[in-house]
Symmetry: D2
Subunit: 343 residues, 4 copies
Amino acid sequence: MAKLCFGSDYMEGAHQEILARLVETNMMQTAGYGGDDFCAAARERIRTACRTPHAEVHFLTGGTQVNRTVITALLRPYEGVIAAETAHIAVHEAGAIECGGHQVITLPHEDGRLTAHAIERCLRAYHEDANRDHMVRPGMVYLSHPTEYGTLYTMNELEAISAICRANRIPLFLDGARLAYALGCPSNELTLPAIAHLTDVFYIGGTKCGALFGEAVVFPRADTVPHFFTIVKQNGALLAKGRILGIQFDTLFTGGLYERGGAHAVAAADRIRTALAEKGYTLAVDSPTNQIFLLLHAEACAQLSAAVEMGFWERRGTDEMVMRIATSWATRDEDVDRLIALL
Amino acid sequence: MAKLCFGSDYMEGAHQEILARLVETNMMQTAGYGGDDFCAAARERIRTACRTPHAEVHFLTGGTQVNRTVITALLRPYEGVIAAETAHIAVHEAGAIECGGHQVITLPHEDGRLTAHAIERCLRAYHEDANRDHMVRPGMVYLSHPTEYGTLYTMNELEAISAICRANRIPLFLDGARLAYALGCPSNELTLPAIAHLTDVFYIGGTKCGALFGEAVVFPRADTVPHFFTIVKQNGALLAKGRILGIQFDTLFTGGLYERGGAHAVAAADRIRTALAEKGYTLAVDSPTNQIFLLLHAEACAQLSAAVEMGFWERRGTDEMVMRIATSWATRDEDVDRLIALL
Amino acid sequence: MAKLCFGSDYMEGAHQEILARLVETNMMQTAGYGGDDFCAAARERIRTACRTPHAEVHFLTGGTQVNRTVITALLRPYEGVIAAETAHIAVHEAGAIECGGHQVITLPHEDGRLTAHAIERCLRAYHEDANRDHMVRPGMVYLSHPTEYGTLYTMNELEAISAICRANRIPLFLDGARLAYALGCPSNELTLPAIAHLTDVFYIGGTKCGALFGEAVVFPRADTVPHFFTIVKQNGALLAKGRILGIQFDTLFTGGLYERGGAHAVAAADRIRTALAEKGYTLAVDSPTNQIFLLLHAEACAQLSAAVEMGFWERRGTDEMVMRIATSWATRDEDVDRLIALL
Amino acid sequence: MAKLCFGSDYMEGAHQEILARLVETNMMQTAGYGGDDFCAAARERIRTACRTPHAEVHFLTGGTQVNRTVITALLRPYEGVIAAETAHIAVHEAGAIECGGHQVITLPHEDGRLTAHAIERCLRAYHEDANRDHMVRPGMVYLSHPTEYGTLYTMNELEAISAICRANRIPLFLDGARLAYALGCPSNELTLPAIAHLTDVFYIGGTKCGALFGEAVVFPRADTVPHFFTIVKQNGALLAKGRILGIQFDTLFTGGLYERGGAHAVAAADRIRTALAEKGYTLAVDSPTNQIFLLLHAEACAQLSAAVEMGFWERRGTDEMVMRIATSWATRDEDVDRLIALL
């Protein structure tokens, strides 16, 4: 019997509906670079979902690419981006932000979340420093929802962070690589309209949320970055057959497919969390979305790993490790059953 | 009746075989970032086709992205890349190479081709210049095959350019965004093994040659650029679900699909070229591949454009313009018939 | 007897007055980074000379450094800088502008001068190009006064270029590395107030015009580039003991020393030009400032070079070469006499 | 009576000997860009002092400039530089390293010093991380001697760090902006030959150690970075009249002037330290060189600051602050007497 696989949320292809649309439209001839009707339709659906009729929407192919392109587009040369020290841009993007010329100013986190307090302290410290003209200016705030630890910001938290950014006139960027797993989570407070209202730019992740690949970058206010299209091109982030992205997002935002995929994954994760609790396992993080961080003794870890592929997260001390179980839009109920039986 | 469309070679989706494979493999679970079996199989097929058993093969998502990533990976900070003044990197990549820190050193072209003579003169001029330490060092040569004008290098020409590069110890990079249309062209002399033998890195274009998207970067000698994977990641060019690229190239290199698509397009273009000659049209460039550059008076142009979508290339004088007709792997015979009837 | 030396205009130290001031102020204690009284005084003198009471003035240490810092500060990532193909930034700055991320868009020149016509054509071509969103946007204009060929812009020419820049809302940057030799030239029409009026940023060269080193960057309108000080620091262009630059420019702009040094050099060059004309020499360029470009047969060149150090400029055909004779603020009359005797 | 000034070590001009040499050589004509005899002589003196006859020596104008130029020259795009979290490059260079494309990987410090242990742990963590190909590779180590806190590395410490770097084949770069104050310190163990032996590149600071400005970059092994001259030029760090730097370093390394200036400052600092100890003051750091970090209650601080200019370092809690007293090569004995009287 094949090994169970809960290693990540990008191990399968795409929702069947997406593939069906790609097959069905395959021989149609369309303009390139996102100038086609599918992209136009997808943009319109996203604007509607966000209640931002004038939003500017761009389709890119991956998360690191989006982060690099958006951040370098928004910052001036002397500015850096504030992020949690566990943020994807700080740790797992091979220095893409620095390669684009900017420092990632890392702050302590709470289960992956930035706090308004820490941001405010960082900004105040900069503005009060007599040597600030010799220092990197904090020029924007980056956060992820859900975070790297699968946790969520509350409405109060995002409002507080947004208020600080606006008071300091620096943009707020929300990385939604796993946004479906927030939107599909019962305890999530941040709807798309709320995010569009409180941030200056965010992206709706496709790659990890049911698309073959692709991310939709949303600027709630048009022309936030003049010539953003050219910046996308310059960063090698412009897909020639842009329609492939348009078709995918048009499908994901038809009939609630995007959120439904997320809800499916969260329900599966909830079943696993319940079983873990019943069996006395310890969680390293209290995360309500599709990622579960399990604290295991080395021995228990080796045993479980023999039957289930999990993601290695980190070592704690000499004997314990944190392993990640990720469900997704594609997780099969029978695999969840088998996993629970194994615990 | 719908307007005929010969505007470019990336207006349709992908070969049916590719879509079928994507559908068939959709729910399989695989490792990310190109570490899956499909990518491994595709790499092996490409190595076999190139007769380079030790070649390093990476799959990226688009041409500008490849050019930027490869060129910045190979150059040292003080180096620039030699290219034809009509080269894609010099004109239509929004300054991606400069954004990566490097000058594009442009040389005159012959129907899109660089000449060994011009390259040699450029290198000699640099080395003889008393101020060369204050100048950009020519650090690599970039060419396209087919070129931007649809023309091809002969074996003698590529050998001569390769010899100069090796004598000067600078790498030679061949952009094969439309390589299928060279390989499928009866007059083409440059096979994949010849290209692998004579260059230091090249890419096999998928986007314009029958894939949904994707380009295969081939380093004939492994470890030409240490940590190239990380450089790809840093440039936002690493696809999470790398298998989507692996599946496509595995399919394109099975049963000669890649070359067959190219040959189909060239045959269609040849039929159009014959008709144009018979009807007394003038070509702006003598190109043997899937692109035809037609010189038209403004009036004739307006008339033809009403019925056929072509690509605008350039204005010549006040009354004439060059229009591009591009066929592709997807061009339908009946569309060629209709076009010929319209001429 | 020592060889005569007319190789360049930066072969001596500095005006005696400058050294005297450095000695006299040596043990005074002052704030760093340009926050001292000498810099304040120098800024004020420059503002007065330019009739721009609100100008922002920064002192940097060299020309390439200024060009790189100013250009990267003014351009957005997708923009390039228009310059003559002979411009210093295009040829002799080792790719500093590209290293900062930007293309140098080179246009043909007339004896080193850009023309309003060529700039206008370039801007129109960009704006009319259907693919402009895939291209580098011309984002500023760079010119030198005097040019690399020692020639000068007329008032009409600079007004026309300035008008185009303003109509297109792109800044105009004037490189004044040798500005003293324009200001000291009888035929020069461009005063400091005119330059300040017609450009958005320019620099007053010290290194080649009588200072030990240093250039004064002038933004006629304050806050043209917010946080320019930090950009200077980031580029490694901020001198800790900024007063050394302040003292020099304060001295150069006291009692007309800056212009006087320029006039001295031009008078010396005029004497040489007269002698050359009388003796039937051919000039490669008709330049009225401190640089003389002499067209010589190889044999004559070798003979003259044995006694006089000149700058090699370029080869013309197989037998002729262009050699540069440069005078400076420090040129001694007896050396001019000796040179004339040798011709 | 004028306020006493102990704010920093770059508040005066230069050693009298340096000014005298500048005056004396002022009207000599020399080649530009460091190709003159003064630079040649200075390089030879430095090679002799370091006992590295083949060392490559370059003269640049400031510390941030050196750090940026050297670090970007040595790193590959995917690499970052390890530094203490208090390092100058991490805090006070306005993001110059990130602007050049590289992450500063900060480690905890011990009074400003990096530890071999922390470096080793960082390198091991990278090499053991399963995701290291998605991460910035630690590609060099940067340290300062003296550190930002005026402390010194012991021979054992530098040997241990050097051994780790060599075992990992990454270069070790020592920032010697204040090196004179180490060399002139009785407890310093690291001579120039030891530094040249244990590092791959270092610089001998002039700006803070008695020169008008300037830093000497030493590569103990020639051609460590091919074409470094061009990289210097590209970074805007090449002084046209390079001789001004050559004359200064030639003078500093004649008759031990460099070390003597350092010893003078340390002796002055020692007198102050003795007085502080006698009067019961608390030091924030136990530093043996020319910088003294004094812990003061707000009230005492305000009182002392009224009479003496000190550098503000940091706030500790709500009531205390750390103030820096810096002596230099130029500190006058009577000012030390006055300061001691004030304590």
